[in-house]
């Protein structure tokens, strides 16, 4: 066991714990955007930073290991200021309207004023083609954003990178932490950084195998089931009317837990619980998207299978 001090309180944690673990142990959860229990920390969002006595810089609590005798401040002026600025940068440039409600709470908590950088600049439309160094100095009168059009290039899910905070979770889930397909990575540098397939090809030309594990970990709604996207466009997505039912996938014998999100007796989205040790929240294309055959498709008892399948394909 290791003793550390957090905001004046002595905490005992097991060796190998992070500062975030220690904070959570005493009920002082820290804001995080890029951290997820099932993924390796990548330390990019910087909202979980805390002040560590003797350290020149603030340290990310999600990955900094607790060491005996550490003295940590989670709510000092420096921490609050850093979190406020990070949240202002994100909220001024990214559409956070579908991010979890905790993000808006943090904006309030840290008195973030994203509008202080000026009105949002008009979208440039070239974010996927930018190169390092090809920039002009801005006037500072408007806030540049990552706004761009939604990528809809396949029947199963959409990518709305106007909502992307570059937390890397999708890259991690597609890569070594789960799926090991490596279809996406971060391209570009600085404000031009963006999630991209190789050479920005459309998903059907990429290595993507449509497991949807990127959607499962996306915290801001940038990656979304096409069914959810279309319902939202039609203003018919009504989460308060939906039920979420846990069941087991039928497509093989592994026993993956599925949470079926149902609205009007139709499955609109499938997720998996991150705290279940079979899936850790990850699924394959069949478990994630292979449910169309149970949707309302006419009278199954009297319709020949070919017609049912043809109708399903039109959906």
């Amino acid at each position: 066991m290791i003793d550390i001090t957090i905001d004046g309180e002595v905490v005992q944690v097991v060796s190998g714990s992070t500062l975030l673990d220690a904070c959570r142990l005493i009920g002082k959860d820290q804001p995080t955007l890029c951290y997820l229990e099932t993924l390796s920390p990548v330390n990019v969002c910087r909202v979980c930073v805390v002040e560590l006595e003797g350290s020149r810089t603030l340290v990310p609590s999600c990955s900094r290991m607790a060491e005996s005798g550490m003295v940590v401040q989670t709510d000092s002026e420096r921490v609050r200021h850093s979190r406020k600025v990070v949240l202002e940068f994100l909220a001024s440039s990214v559409d956070l309207s579908l991010a979890g409600s905790e993000v808006r709470d943090w904006l309030d908590q840290y008195e973030a004023r994203p509008d202080r950088f000026g009105p949002r600049a008009a979208p440039t439309g070239d974010r996927d083609r930018r190169h390092a160094g090809h920039h002009h100095r801005t006037t500072g009168s408007v806030a540049e954003t990552v706004q761009q059009s939604i990528k809809i290039d396949n029947p199963l899910y959409v990518r709305d990178y106007s909502r992307c905070i570059l937390c890397y979770k999708c890259v991690e889930a597609c890569g070594e932490d789960a799926q090991n397909t490596f279809a996406i990575a971060v391209a570009g540098r600085g404000f031009d950084a963006r999630i991209s397939t190789e050479f920005d090809v459309a998903l059907p030309e990429s290595a993507c195998v449509y497991c949807g594990n990127c959607i499962g970990v996306c915290p801001t709604g940038a990656l979304m089931f096409r069914s959810e996207h279309e319902l939202r466009q039609a203003e018919m997505w009504e989460e308060e009317r939906q039920t979420v039912t846990r069941t087991i996938c039928s497509y093989c014998g592994v026993g993956c837990n599925l949470d079926l999100h149902v609205q009007d007796n139709r499955i609109e989205k499938v997720t998996s619980p991150q705290d279940h040790d079979v899936t850790s929240g990850h699924l394959c294309i069949k478990g994630r998207f292979g449910y169309e055959y149970v949707q309302e498709l006419g009278d199954l008892a009297t319709t020949p299978i070919d017609e049912v399948l043809a109708r399903a394909r039109q959906h």
């Binding site: 396949n154 029947p155 199963l156 070594e176 789960a178 090991n180 998903l203 059907p204 993507c208 195998v209 449509y210 497991c211 039920t243 039912t245 846990r246 069941t247 087991i248 996938c249 039928s250 497509y251 093989c252 014998g253 592994v254 026993g255 837990n257 079926l260 149902v262 007796n265 139709r266 499955i267 040790d277 079979v278 899936t279 850790s280 990850h282 699924l283 394959c284 294309i285 069949k286 478990g287 998207f289 292979g290 449910y291 169309e292 055959y293 149970v294 309302e296 498709l297 009278d299 199954l300 008892a301 009297t302 319709t303 020949p304 299978i305 049912v308 399948l309 399903a312 394909r313 959906h315």
Partner: protein, 520 residues
């Protein structure tokens, strides 16, 4: 260390393969034994491209290497097994030279794998239908079990034998007694004492003799001994080997009832169709996964039209027959099962919910279930009977390769497909490539075919025309098809009905075919 044997888990069991990959990233070595260099094989340290149906020769040769080098676990063998001497004698007939001749695998690779397996601290053998869809399926499995007994890689955390089930309740079906010779909980139906106990709970007498398995049923249809059939959630008119023959037999029945969620080709032939609810999302119950984990399935959707749950249909049927079961809920039916099957006794619904499923055996409500089984083999003194080595000899697949039928056709799954495609065909998969005849680039050149050219694939039973697709994972002489597209690529017209007398599994994996180019 992982021996992935006759399994393309990357495509067929993707989330299990996530766990394998985590092991590989943590330094586990993987040997993949598969005729194809599959998506799974690409992650292996070593891929052993085995000739279809020669697995026993490979396993026996590994056994000989291990024994010759003194790497067998002598202490475990003496403590927990019988029949070692007979096994030694039998594997002596499988020196590396002969094994290479039979399997097509270089002797050095066999030797390396055998040594790596025997000397690994922990090792798993994981297999799928590449082992079991053969006419000698049970012998294939026994040959693998012999290796685990030889090295003591069983009954310990991290070591074991792991058959990967293809559907969410293959394991559960057997556990519940939906096999011809067992009552729920693997209690032998021909054991008078066990049967009497269950008769006491059910208040009914149970036939004292085992029934027929699927393949025997088709034989009984042929012999005119089986005239009526009640099919629940199975599509034999598309899934049986030598399917034209199976369809004929189904058409000649006096009476057939099909209970299914779809109007399948089997249902189209039925006298009565009972539309049922989908078990995994339109009704309540439990399923049991490959790791013996019992988990609940729950109703998320109302079933369409007049469809009812299987439990409801069967209860009504029982009522019509004077059964007097009433209308039990899924939980009530499960609680009865817990009284019948001792190994499920502790699995109350509330415990299944709280623990995210429980792995059997679970003897009472204080028992947490077992992460792995067979640890009794390490208990000192040994608990229960020792396990016998069962020597198994290699034999060739039934459908021989000849000059007229020189190509070996084997079958498997695509990542986005499932069995005959009834379910997986319903969603719009961007990676679906449809039914093709996959072949090596060498054979493509020989036959003058390119991707998309139509080839006629003929076995001794039928011919079908399908588009060709060159797959660099295939070796000369080996061709591949999936079973997902019976409407356009009805591979089971080609497969042979030869089946394993012990398990009833047909030899889907080994068909001899001829190929001709018929058009571009």
């Amino acid at each position: 260390m992982i021996l992935l044997w006759g399994s393309n888990a990357r495509a067929a069991h993707p989330i299990f393969f996530h766990h394998v990959l985590r092991g590989i990233h943590n330094g586990a070595r993987m040997y993949c034994i598969d005729p194809r260099r599959s998506e799974s094989a690409r992650w292996a340290d070593v891929w052993l491209g085995i000739d279809v149906g020669s697995d026993i020769a490979l396993a026996n040769a590994m056994g000989k290497v291990i024994i010759d080098r003194g790497l067998h676990n002598d202490q475990f063998i003496r403590h927990a097994t019988t029949g070692f001497d007979d096994y030694v004698q039998m594997v002596n007939d499988y020196p590396l030279g002969r094994a290479t001749e039979i399997t097509g695998i270089p002797g050095g690779a066999i030797e390396e794998m055998a040594i790596a397996y025997a000397t690994a601290e922990t090792a798993q053998i994981c297999w799928t239908l590449g082992i079991t869809e053969h006419h000698n399926a049970t012998d294939n499995v026994l040959a693998l079990i012999n290796l685990a007994l030889l090295t003591g890689h069983v009954g310990r955390y991290g070591s074991g034998l792991c058959p990967l089930r293809g559907q969410n309740n293959v394991q559960g079906g057997g556990d519940m007694g939906a096999i011809p010779n067992k009552l729920p909980g693997f209690q032998d139906v021909e054991n008078d004492e066990l049967r009497a106990r269950v008769e006491g709970i059910w208040g009914r007498s149970i036939p004292p003799k085992r029934g027929w398995h699927l393949t025997q049923m088709f034989e009984a249809m042929e012999a005119g001994m089986l005239r009526g059939l009640y099919v629940i959630g199975e599509n034999p008119a598309e899934s049986e080997a030598d399917v034209n023959h199976a369809r004929k037999l189904l058409d000649h029945l006096d009476f057939m009832v099909v209970q299914d969620i779809f109007m399948t080709r089997t249902a189209e032939r039925a006298d009565v169709v009972l539309p049922s609810a989908a078990d995994w999302c339109e009704s309540e119950g439990t399923v049991t996964s490959s790791e013996r984990r019992v988990q609940r399935v729950r109703k998320a959707l109302d079933p369409p039209g007049e469809a009812r749950t299987d439990l409801d249909i069967v209860s009504h049927m029982a009522e019509a027959m004077g059964g007097g079961w009433g209308r039990p809920s899924a939980e009530e039916a499960w609680d009865e099962l817990r009284r019948v099957s001792p190994m499920h006794a502790g699995m109350a619904y509330r415990r299944l919910d709280a623990l995210g499923g429980i792995q059997w055996p679970c003897w009472n409500e204080d028992h947490p279930g077992e992460k792995f089984i067979h640890h009794r083999l390490w208990a000192d003194p040994l608990v229960g009977d020792p396990v016998p080595f069962i020597p198994t000899e290699w034999v060739t697949p039934v459908d021989r390769l000849t000059q007229d039928y020189p190509y070996r056709l084997t079958t498997g799954r695509h990542l986005d497909g499932f069995n005959t495609g009834v379910q997986s065909g319903g969603f719009d998969s961007p990676i679906r490539i449809g039914g093709t005849l996959d072949l090596s680039s060498e054979d493509a050149v020989r036959l003058g075919v390119n991707d998309g050219d139509v080839v006629r694939v003929s076995s001794r039973r039928a011919s079908i025309d399908v588009p060709a697709r060159v797959d660099e994972g295939l070796r000369e002489g080996l061709v591949f098809m999936t079973l997902h597209y019976p409407e356009t690529a009805d591979v089971n017209q080609l497969t042979i009905e030869a089946w394993d007398p012990k398990s009833g599994t047909a030899e889907f994996k080994a068909t001899a075919v001829r190929l001709e180019k018929v058009g571009a």
